[in-house]
């Protein structure tokens, strides 16, 4: 394992809920600029892993090294401020706000946090707002959602909501982008679109991406390296080809007696 270049190093994570062990001694790393997939059957602990990385869950054992430094336990909004953005499996958008406002909210951490400036120094606050607006418009163009710019997102179809959520995460200009089942519940066409966006994000923004999927086929096309999980443990790790030929992985997916 090449420690020095890893953007994030996840070491020996164990997560328990009462008597249930959701993650057991899981370690892997995420390299700068790669698309890293975490796959596994339902209940394998993929989402738990993502929630540990984004700080929604706190593991009992193990630690996370981010940019070479051990990350202390901190609330999830502070982790977001460190440059870890995410989407959710069940879409967590601000449904009453427009697409534009949702994506603007993604930039909240990048705006200077001063109420007084807003009140006393109107011009400057406005200039800052328009700078942010420009960046957001770029993302809107990139994701091809110009036509729904002013639509409250609660009214959008599922596939578009997923895209807006991706846009909001991108707006934060994250160092690490976490995608929780970005293609769940989508039809083939929507899945292809999403694949294209993920690859484009990597190309255009150079963002490091970690994503969860249980659909093997899709994952193999977009990711550089894959972690395979089953029953809370890591059972495989490597390039898509290596993983495809790993006997443990085949067993987990085809269902062998445990």
């Amino acid at each position: 394992m090449n420690d020095s270049a890893a953007l994030m190093d996840i070491r020996n994570i164990t997560l328990k809920f009462g008597g249930v062990t959701a993650l057991e001694d899981v370690s892997f790393d995420i390299q700068e600029g790669e698309v890293r997939a975490i796959i596994g059957p339902n209940g394998a602990g993929k989402s738990s892993m993502l929630n540990v990385i984004s700080g929604f869950y706190h593991p009992q054992e193990g630690g996370i090294w981010f940019r070479g430094e051990r990350r202390p336990a901190m609330p999830s909004h502070r982790i977001a401020r460190q440059g870890v953005a995410r989407t959710f499996q069940n879409i967590a958008l601000f449904s009453r706000m427009t697409t534009l406002d949702n994506i603007m909210t993604g930039r909240v951490t990048l705006m200077r946090p001063n109420l007084l400036t807003h009140m006393l120094w109107w011009g400057r606050a406005e200039r800052e707002e328009s700078e942010h607006r420009e960046k957001v418009e770029r993302i809107i163009d990139f994701l091809e959602i110009q036509t729904i710019r002013k639509t409250p997102v609660g009214r959008l179809p599922y596939g578009l909501q997923k895209r807006v959520e991706l846009g909001r995460a991108l707006a934060a200009e994250p160092a690490l982008l976490l995608l929780d089942e970005p293609m769940a519940g989508m039809n083939v066409e929507e899945k292809e679109d999403m694949c294209r966006f993920i690859l484009d994000v990597k190309e255009e923004f150079g963002t490091t991406i970690a994503l969860i999927e249980h659909d093997m086929g899709v994952v193999m096309d977009v990711s550089d390296r894959v972690v395979v999980m089953d029953y809370g443990r890591k059972i495989g790790d490597g390039t898509p080809d290596e993983v495809r030929n790993n006997q443990d992985v085949i067993d987990a997916y085809l269902g062998v007696q445990h």
């Binding site: 977001a80 406002d101 909210t105 946090p113 934060a172």
Partner: protein, 328 residues
């Protein structure tokens, strides 16, 4: 113009002014409801507490004087100073911010991700606690607010309308000030929530806690901000109502008057709170004026609630509230 019509106009104007005061109370509810989906039962008591604190600071009352005297056998009541109005308003405001911080630390922090009804119960508890605490801190005597607000009928309006119609309208100057203050407050709040960064964060938290966290918004900070702003609104409402009827326990009951206003205007709309307040204010005054004699008077006590009931039947989301549409 007929005398009857002039009376009606005067009554409507006074209704508008009363409506502004209702709207002031309703505003505080809307703020907290919008930001956290919680109906803050304690809003009325917060208005009372804010007004008590203001008067207490201004008159140099020693907090908990009664308690101290009881325990130590002393006879202290006052520091012996009299603060200028402006300073005591600032101090009362600081007190409301402190209250917001304490409420967040002791109550809200422990109830993250709980059902709204649990938070609602917590605010009921808070209301009763604050009521007793205010009593203990500042005593239960009825107090007068003297921060230089004008009283009595406006002579100029009286004169102006007399010249115009041959009948002078009676409008309380305090009501006019209240209307101006409310207008300013609404402008400030609208700009704050629509155009500032914190305002956007505030709307985000109102919509989805988890999503707000994921973009780096601190729920706890936002709650402190919201409760502080609600405390500020409570202070304004408390001062205006207190100036009208004296600072006393019954001030906390104005919260009950805010309920029909909210049902009319919608729980989530700042303009709704204002329009709802005005409709109730004018409605109950006019109704009493026109139909009161037929039903034996005293209609002001129930008119607002009946109107709210009618709205609940035909337009449950209120005039400006969000339509509740469940997707199937």
């Amino acid at each position: 113009m007929s005398q009857q019509l002039l009376y009606a106009i005067e009554v409507s104007l006074n209704g508008l002014m009363a409506g502004v005061l209702y709207a002031l109370v309703a505003l505080g509810f809307v703020l907290i409801y919008k930001a956290s989906g919680v109906f803050n039962y304690a809003q009325g008591v917060m208005a009372l507490f804010a007004a008590l604190t203001l008067v207490g600071f201004q008159n140099g009352q020693i907090p908990f004087a009664h308690l101290i005297n009881e325990i130590f056998g002393t006879q202290v009541h006052h520091f012996g100073w009299h603060l200028p109005a402006f300073l005591s308003v600032l101090l009362a405001l600081a007190m409301m911010v402190l209250l917001a911080v304490i409420v967040e630390k002791l109550v809200l922090k422990h109830l993250i991700n709980q059902e709204p009804v649990i938070l609602f119960m917590a605010t009921i508890g808070l209301a009763y606690f604050l009521e007793g605490f205010g009593d203990l801190m500042w005593g239960s005597a009825i107090k007068k607010i003297e921060i230089g607000l004008p009283y009595g009928p406006s002579d100029s309006i009286d004169q102006f309308t007399y010249d115009l119609f041959g009948y002078g309208f009676f409008i309380d100057r305090l009501d006019i000030v209240a209307a101006l203050v409310a207008a300013l407050l609404v402008c400030f709040l609208t700009v704050f929530s629509q155009y500032s960064k914190i305002g956007r964060a505030l709307r985000a938290v109102a919509d989805d806690h988890q999503a707000a966290l994921s973009v780096g918004i601190s729920l706890r900070f936002i709650w402190v901000v919201v409760w502080s702003v609600a405390g500020f609104v409570a202070l304004v409402a408390g001062v205006m109502w207190g100036a009208k009827s004296g600072v006393q326990f019954s001030l906390s009951l104005i919260a009950l008057k805010a309920l029909p206003v909210l049902m009319l205007g919608g729980f989530t709309s700042i303009p709704g709170a204002i329009v709802g307040g005005l409709i109730i204010g004018v409605g109950e005054k006019l109704f009493d004026f026109l139909l009161g004699p037929l039903v034996g008077g005293a209609t002001e006590n129930w008119f607002a609630y009946v109107l709210a009931l009618v709205f609940l039947v035909f337009r449950p989301q209120g005039l400006f509230g969000e339509r509740i549409i469940e997707r199937v």
